[in-house]
């Protein structure tokens, strides 16, 4: 792979990737240093769907129906490029276990079909209840598994809605063509839908079927807000640095292209 006459340790065509990576890592370092100050609290705009979660848990208790948490039929991806969404969904799982413990609502978790993710999901739910001081509320039989594939998952979730009723249905994670059934069925059965996915291609289903929706990247920001974990909160600020970079690249690139520079090859560096 080495070019003759130069010592190329870095692959050509990845310079810009590395630049962006360095910017983000530097921003991470900078903000992690800031989080050491206990009084540091960044401003983050209000995300309306967040309030709806506790409202929904309250509604579930009132109606004496369980809270459902779904992270997608294939929401347990640990080694694909969607792994961040799995981890974000787990942050919400932790949050909802806390709320359920506080309000005394029963929580049913519909686990995704990737068996390799079962340990981490189960662990998160158990820790969530334990952290809220009610470890006895964790029940392994409410951690539902429906076999491989989206088809049995949607059926299983629907059957569970029909059997046990739906108060709040919180759906956050990696969703493919499974959410059009699970969300609409929860709606038809009188449940309140709150949710979102980072997969833009399926976001339409959430926008159309949810009472409150997290649009696209909002799930990451919302996860940070609910976690109150300084590392996650600073994550939003790190993203904003990335967004600044994106805007700079867009503007500078357009200006350079306007004066006739070969931006295509510049951006292929």
């Amino acid at each position: 792979m080495q070019q003759s006459g130069e010592i190329a340790v870095i692959k050509t065509g990845t310079y810009l990737d590395i630049l962006l990576m360095i910017i983000l890592v530097a921003a991470t370092y900078y903000y992690y240093e800031k989080t050491k100050d206990p009084n540091w609290k960044p401003f983050i705009r209000h995300i309306p769907a967040l309030d709806a979660i506790s409202e929904g848990v309250g509604k579930s208790v009132e109606e004496d129906k369980p809270v459902h948490f779904a992270m997608g039929a294939s929401g347990g991806q640990l080694y694909s490029n969607l792994v961040s969404m799995t981890l974000t969904a787990l942050a919400f799982l932790r949050h909802i276990t806390g709320l359920c413990a506080e309000y005394g609502a029963r929580l049913i978790v519909h686990m995704p079909y990737q068996t390799e993710s079962i340990p981490i999901i189960e662990g998160t739910a158990r820790e969530g209840f334990a952290f809220a001081g009610k470890p006895e509320m964790y029940r392994r039989d409410d951690m539902r598994y429906y076999g491989r594939g989206a088809l049995t998952w949607t059926q299983g979730v629907t059957a569970s809605y029909a059997e046990e009723g739906v108060g709040l249905n919180l759906s956050i994670g990696i969703f493919y063509s499974d959410c059009p059934i699970s969300l609409e069925m929860a709606h038809i059965m009188g449940g309140m839908n709150v949710g979102g996915t980072g997969r833009w291609i399926m976001a339409y289903a959430f926008a159309m079927m949810c009472d409150y929706v997290f649009l696209g990247e909002e799930i990451y920001a919302a996860a940070a807000q609910v976690s109150e974990d300084p590392a996650m909160l600073s994550g939003i600020l790190i993203e904003e640095v990335g967004k600044f970079f994106v805007y700079i690249l867009l503007i500078v690139g357009t200006l350079l292209a306007a004066v006739g520079l070969d931006v295509a090859s510049l951006l292929s560096l």
């Binding site: 340790v9 692959k11 990737d17 983000l24 991470t28 992690y32 080694y79 490029n81 969607l82 792994v83 961040s84 969404m85 981890l87 974000t88 787990l90 942050a91 686990m111 990737q114 068996t115 390799e116 079962i118 340990p119 981490i120 662990g123 998160t124 820790e127 029940r139 392994r140 039989d141 951690m143 539902r144 598994y145 429906y146 076999g147 491989r148 088809l151 059926q155 059957a159 063509s177 059009p180 059934i181 609409e184 069925m185 709606h187 980072g198 833009w200 976001a203 339409y204 289903a205 079927m209 696209g216 990247e217 799930i219 990451y220 590392a231 994550g235 993203e239 990335g242 967004k243 994106v246």
Partner: protein
């Protein structure tokens, strides 16, 4: 002991992640080789864990049945096991395994069929949600009519591209193919691309946090 429960797994995670990044960004063969070895492990780790699903399913159904001895719960306890035995038994016993005619018959008429039907059901659930959402105006309690811009945009994108895909309109509604493609390639790309870039940034930040060892989900759960 605690170090084996927390620090070492986190270090393993970060080490592997960084090696893979270096394999992508540098020309050093050592990282490429390491990446090759680890990535070839992944299918095995993932496949070996498949038995967990069976255990969880049976356990949940059994506990449900113990709690409430209804007909539905009886079905859930017995029927999956029967069909598990039928399918697994056929796959193991009949020569040719899953390629045998007997297994193909089961697979085609039952499994594939129900799978296909589930997707078919989604046509109906999507249709009803669209009927509910795609309304240009709503009346509030006082009877005043309100125009909903965002619903209109949703409806615009949705209906034009639907018509574009239906043969009837392709033939009898001139220009719909071009218009549909325009919606797909211009406004859809504009909005979709922004969402993709934003979600990508979000994903990378979670990724960096994970490699840094600060992602609570991967460090604290045990």
């Amino acid at each position: 002991m605690a170090i084996f429960k927390r620090e070492i797994p986190t270090a393993v995670l970060s080490f592997i992640g960084i090696v893979i990044l270096l394999a992508f960004f540098t020309t050093l063969d050592i990282f490429e080789t390491l990446k090759g070895v680890v990535t070839s492990w992944i299918p095995v780790v993932s496949a070996a864990s498949v038995g967990l699903g069976l255990i969880y399913m049976v356990y949940a159904q059994y506990m449900n049945y113990q709690r409430k001895k209804t007909l539905n719960n009886q079905i859930y306890l017995v029927v999956p096991l029967i069909f598990f035995v039928i399918f697994f038994g056929t796959a193991i016993v009949v020569p040719g395994n899953t390629a045998s005619d007997a297994y193909q018959w089961l697979y085609f008429h039952i499994y594939q069929n129900v799978g296909g039907t589930i997707y078919a059901v989604m046509f109906f659930t999507l249709a009803s949600s669209a009927i509910r959402t795609m309304r240009l105006v709503t009346k509030d309690s006082s009877g005043a009519v309100q125009f909903r811009l965002e619903a209109a945009a949703l409806m615009f994108g949705g209906l034009i591209y639907t018509l574009r895909q239906i043969p009837l309109f392709q033939v009898y509604l001139p220009g719909i193919v071009g218009f549909g493609e325009w919606v797909m390639m211009v406004p859809n790309v504009g909005g979709g691309r922004a969402a993709v870039i934003a979600a990508a940034l979000g994903a990378i930040v979670v990724g960096i946090r994970t490699l840094w060892g600060k992602e609570r989900t991967t460090t604290e759960v045990d």
